[in-house]
Symmetry: C2
Subunit: 84 residues, 2 copies
């Protein structure tokens, strides 16, 4: 399972679109706060594997390309830990 | 914009995985309650257009294939209206 504190430390690039506490100001992006960690991990892996394409998915693919499996698990744990 | 009441009426097929009030019991699926309507609509359209693939996306593609643009907007409005 991911490490919440480590995930927080890795979340700097996520904030611009997904908000400082995982709640967005731009409604075309998803809130992440309180989302299930397992789903978040699956979604990030799907972007990394190129299973999600088109539109904003291209942005996500660029961001996740440099993430390791541990990075993804940590980020998922961090966002799941936040209050929705 | 979608119609919340109409969306609720169209949500019967969503409940098995996404929960009666948009909160899941199975952690591999995303909570939908309180998610941004614009994002939900975008995500459903992405499944319908085949932009999301692999894993559970194949399940979603099957479900959304029969949905009209109005259906998608109504479902997005409904789930966005629920308390997270």
């Amino acid at each position: 399972a991911g490490d919440v504190a480590a995930g927080k430390g890795k979340s700097a690039s996520c904030v611009a679109c997904h908000g400082a506490e995982g709640k967005v100001s731009v409604p075309m992006y998803p809130n992440l706060a309180g989302q299930n960690a397992m789903y978040l991990e699956h979604a990030l892996q799907a972007y990394k594997k190129g299973e999600r394409n088109g539109g904003q998915a291209e942005v996500m693919k660029a961001y996740v390309s440099a993430l390791s499996d541990d990075d993804i698990a940590d980020l998922a744990a961090y966002y799941a830990s936040l209050k929705p």
